[in-house]
C-alpha cells in the first residue's frame, strides 16, 4: 500500500538530515532492526503514558514483557510456537494478582476490572464460536445471539426455581432447602446447554443452510429475531399457562457454580462461588476471581477445539466450502452435512458462553438477546480478523472492554478535559460503526488477519454459483 510507505519515506528523509542513512539501517541484522523498532515504539508509548496516564514502574515491566515476546524469533526454535500462547496465558491467569499495581492508560484510564474481565472472556468464547461459522466456513450468521439465548435459558431451566412445581436437585450449591425447582450443578448445566444449543443449531441449520450468501444472512437474521420474541413471550406458551421463559421478567435468581462440600473439604476448590467456605484455598475465595479463572478455562477449551478443528479434515472441508462450494461438492465434501457441523460447533460454544454468563449474572433476561448482540459479536470477529484465533480474541476483548468500561472512561476523560456533559456510552453503536469503518478502510482483513483471508481480500473469492447444486 502506498500510504504507510509515504510516511516511512518522509521519516527517513527527516532522519537523513540528522545523518542517519537508510541503506546502513537496511544492512543490519533483521533481529537488530526489529529490536530497535519495537524498542522505539515502546519508548514512545512509555513517554505518552508518563505524560498523560498514571505512571508507575509497572510500565517498564509491561514494556519488557512485550519486548521479550515480540523480538526473539521463537518460531525457529523447537516448540517455539508454544512460547507466545503460554506467555499470554500466564499473563492472563495471574492478572488478578497484579491488576491493582498496574499503570493507567492515557484517555482509556485503568486496566479493566475483574468483573469486566469475566464478561470479556464470555464474549471471547462467543466470538470464537461465531468464528467457526463465519471465519472458517464462510457462512454469514446474523442470528448468533439465538444460541447465546438458548444456552442461557437452559441454565435458567435446570438451575433455578423456574419450574417450582418440581423439586429435583443434583449437585447444586447454595440453594436453600425451602426452595423448589430443578437445581442441577452448573457444570452439568454447561454440558446440557452446549448439547441442546448444538441440537438447535442443527435444527435451524437444516432448512437455512441450503441457501447461500445474502439469503442465508437474511434467514439467520430471522431466527435471531424469533428467539428473543419466544423468550419475551414464553411465559404463557401457546396460551397453555405454561411458563417457559419467565416472559419479560426473565428467570432469576439462577444458581451459582461451585464444586460442592466434598471437593471443598478434600481439594480446597470453592464449594460455592458466591460464598466459599473457610476450607477453600485462600486465593480461590474471591468470587469474581474464580469466575474469571473458570471463564478462562472455558476459553482455553474453546481455543483448543478451534485449533484442532481448523487443522482437521473437517476444517479443510470448511475452508474449501468457503472458497468454492461447487468444487468442494465435486471433490466429495457433503455440503449440507459439513455446513451443519460448522453451525452446530459454533452453536455449541455460544451455548456454553450463554450458560456460563447466566450463572455469573444469576439471571436471564430476554433483553440481553436482541439483534445488536449478534452484530456486536460479528463486529468482534471482523475487527480482529476472520478465521484467525488471535485476531478474534483481540477483537472480542477490545470491543467488550469498550462496551463495559472503555467508553465510560473515555467519556469521563473528555467531559473533564473539555468541561462537557456528554454521555459517551450512549453513542456506543455509532462509535463501533466508526471503528469498523476505519478498520475496513485501512485494514479490511482485520487487525490480525488470517493468511488465507488476506489472500482472499487481495484477489477475491471466485465462487461462481452453478444454480442447481443441491447437497
Amino acid at each position: 500500500m502506498a500510504r504507510p510507505r509515504l510516511t516511512r519515506d518522509t521519516l527517513w528523509a527527516a532522519l537523513g538530515t540528522l545523518g542517519l542513512d537508510r541503506s546502513r539501517w537496511n544492512a543490519q541484522d533483521p533481529i537488530v532492526r526489529r529490536a530497535t523498532a519495537v524498542a522505539l515504539w515502546l519508548a514512545g508509548g512509555i513517554v505518552l503514558i508518563g505524560a498523560f496516564g498514571s505512571f508507575n514502574w509497572t510500565v517498564f515491566a509491561a514494556a519488557a514483557i512485550v519486548f521479550a515476546l515480540i523480538v526473539p524469533p521463537y518460531a525457529q526454535l523447537p516448540l517455539g510456537r508454544f512460547v507466545l500462547p503460554l506467555a499470554v496465558l500466564t499473563v492472563a491467569v495471574t492478572y488478578p494478582f497484579y491488576l491493582d499495581e498496574l499503570f493507567g492508560w492515557p484517555i482509556f484510564g485503568p486496566f479493566p476490572a475483574m468483573n469486566t474481565m469475566v464478561v470479556m472472556m464470555v464474549f471471547v468464547m462467543m466470538a470464537l464460536g461465531l468464528n467457526v461459522v463465519v471465519g472458517y466456513a464462510g457462512l454469514l450468521d446474523l442470528g448468533y445471539v439465538a444460541f447465546y439465548a438458548v444456552g442461557a435459558y437452559t441454565v435458567g431451566w435446570f438451575a433455578s426455581d423456574q419450574f417450582s412445581q418440581r423439586d429435583f436437585r443434583f449437585g447444586s450449591v447454595g440453594v436453600s432447602p425451602q426452595v423448589t425447582g430443578i437445581h442441577l450443578s452448573i457444570w452439568f448445566c454447561l454440558v446440557i446447554a452446549a448439547i441442546i444449543t448444538a441440537v438447535i443449531g442443527v435444527i435451524i441449520g437444516l432448512p437455512t443452510l441450503r441457501l447461500r450468501g445474502d439469503y442465508l444472512a437474511i434467514v439467520t437474521l430471522g431466527f435471531g429475531e424469533i428467539m428473543p420474541q419466544i423468550a419475551r413471550n414464553g411465559n404463557e406458551l401457546f396460551g397453555t399457562n405454561f411458563n417457559l421463559t419467565g416472559g419479560t421478567q426473565g428467570i432469576t435468581p439462577v444458581d451459582a457454580p461451585g464444586f460442592g462440600s466434598w471437593i471443598n473439604t478434600n481439594v480446597g476448590l470453592p464449594d460455592n462461588y458466591l460464598a466459599p467456605s473457610s476450607q477453600t484455598i485462600g486465593f480461590l475465595s474471591d468470587t469474581v476471581n474464580v469466575f474469571f479463572w473458570s471463564a478462562l478455562v472455558l476459553v482455553i477449551f474453546t481455543v483448543f477445539c478451534s485449533v484442532r478443528l481448523r487443522d482437521s479434515r473437517l476444517g479443510r472441508a470448511w475452508i474449501a466450502i468457503r472458497e468454492d462450494e461447487v468444487a468442494a461438492a465435486a471433490m466429495g465434501v457433503p455440503l449440507m452435512r459439513t455446513k451443519t457441523w460448522a453451525y452446530a460447533t459454533g452453536a455449541f460454544f455460544g451455548g456454553i458462553a450463554g450458560a456460563f454468563f447466566a450463572s455469573y449474572k444469576s439471571a436471564v433476561f430476554p433483553d440481553d438477546f436482541f439483534f445488536n448482540i449478534s452484530v456486536f459479536i460479528l463486529c468482534m470477529v471482523i475487527l480482529g480478523g476472520m478465521g484467525n484465533i488471535w485476531g478474534v480474541i483481540l477483537g472480542a476483548c477490545f470491543l467488550s472492554y469498550l462496551d463495559r468500561e472503555g467508553l465510560a472512561n473515555i467519556g469521563a476523560w473528555m467531559n473533564e478535559k473539555f468541561s462537557l456533559t456528554l454521555d459517551v456510552p450512549k453513542y456506543e453503536f455509532g462509535i463501533f460503526g466508526v471503528i469498523l469503518l476505519v478498520v475496513m478502510l485501512f485494514r479490511p482483513e482485520g487487525l490480525i488477519p488470517n493468511e488465507r483471508r488476506r489472500a482472499e481480500f487481495e484477489t477475491g473469492v471466485h465462487d461462481q454459483p452453478l444454480y442447481d447444486v443441491e447437497a
Binding site: 479434515r313 471433490m331 466429495g332 465434501v333 457441523w341 442447481d468
Partner: protein
C-alpha cells in the same frame, strides 16, 4: 468390455433452452472416450449432469452397476467419479497439498470428536493421507510445490493440480473438462502422454471434453460428437473424422488434414 458408465435419454432444459437433448452415451471400462462439439453444444452441461451438479430434466445415469441419477455431487464422487473443471476451480488460498487433501475427503474418516481428541488412529490416517497427497502431486508433475498456494501456481501447474485433486478422490472414472485449454503445444503433448499413463498405470477410465483434435485423435478409443445438444456421431476417431455431419458441424475441412 463392460460399460462403466451408461447414460440413457439424457435431457437438460434451462427454461425454453434445451441444452442437451435425448443423448445416449456409454463409457466402456478401461477406455478413453472423448466428447467433442462446437462451443455451446452442451458438453459441459452433459458433464454436470453426470456428476450431479445439475439434475437432468429426463434420463438416467448408471455408474458401476448402480443408478446415480440425481444424486448429489459428493455422493457421485464417493462412488468413484472424479472431475476437473473447464475454468479452473481450485481452492485458491489453500496450498497444493491441502487442495489434494480436500480431494481425499470421502476416503478419510476423521469426524469432529476424533479431530478434537486427535486420536493415534487419526494421526496415522492423516500422516498416510499427507504421504499419499505428496505422491499424487509428484505423479502429476508438481514435485516440490506442496506448500505453494494454489493461486500462486502457473496456469499449467494449476491444471495439473486440478487433476491431482481429482485423482485424490480415488476415482474409477476420471472426467476431464477441456484439460489442455490454454496450454502450449509442448504442454499439450506432455498432458496427452499423462492421460495415457493414467489408463496404463492407474487403471483409470477417462472421459474427456476436448477441443484440441491432436489430443482427441491421439488418445481416444471412442469419440462422441454433440451439436446443439444432440448426438450427431459416435465411433472410433477415424470413423468420426470421416463423418460428413461432423465435418460440417464442427471439424471443418482443415481437421481432416490434421
Amino acid at each position: 468390455m463392460a460399460d462403466l458408465l451408461r447414460a440413457e435419454g439424457m435431457r437438460k432444459q434451462f427454461g425454453g433452452l434445451v441444452a442437451v437433448n435425448d443423448v445416449d452415451f456409454t463409457v466402456p471400462e478401461g477406455s478413453i472416450v472423448s466428447l467433442i462439439g462446437p462451443n455451446g453444444a452442451g458438453k459441459t452441461t452433459f458433464f454436470n449432469m453426470l456428476t450431479g451438479v445439475y439434475k437432468p430434466t429426463a434420463g438416467r445415469v448408471f455408474f458401476d452397476g448402480s443408478n446415480i441419477t440425481g444424486k448429489p455431487p459428493h455422493a457421485v464422487t464417493e462412488r468413484g467419479i472424479g472431475r476437473t473443471f473447464q475454468n479452473i476451480r481450485l481452492f485458491q488460498t489453500m496450498t497444493s497439498l491441502e487442495n489434494v487433501l480436500v480431494g481425499m475427503h470421502t476416503r478419510l474418516t476423521g469426524g469432529i470428536l476424533r479431530s478434537i481428541l486427535r486420536t493415534p488412529g487419526l494421526k496415522e490416517e492423516e500422516r498416510q493421507a499427507g504421504k499419499r497427497a505428496a505422491e499424487l502431486l509428484d505423479f502429476s508433475g508438481l514435485r516440490g510445490r506442496d506448500e505453494e498456494l494454489a493461486r500462486n501456481l502457473s496456469y499449467g501447474d494449476q491444471r495439473r493440480l486440478e487433476v491431482a485433486r481429482a485423482l485424490a478422490t480415488k476415482p474409477k472414472l476420471l472426467l476431464l473438462d477441456e484439460p489442455t485449454a490454454g496450454m502450449n503445444p509442448q504442454e499439450t503433448r506432455e498432458f496427452t502422454a499423462f492421460v495415457a499413463r493414467l489408463r496404463s498405470e492407474e487403471k483409470l477410465t477417462v472421459l474427456l471434453i476436448e477441443h484440441d483434435m491432436r489430443v482427441v485423435m491421439g488418445v481416444s478409443d471412442r469419440v462422441t460428437v454433440l451439436d446443439y445438444g444432440e448426438k450427431i456421431a459416435e465411433g472410433t476417431p477415424q470413423e468420426v473424422q470421416r463423418d460428413e455431419r461432423v465435418i460440417e458441424a464442427y471439424l471443418g475441412s482443415g481437421a481432416l488434414a490434421g
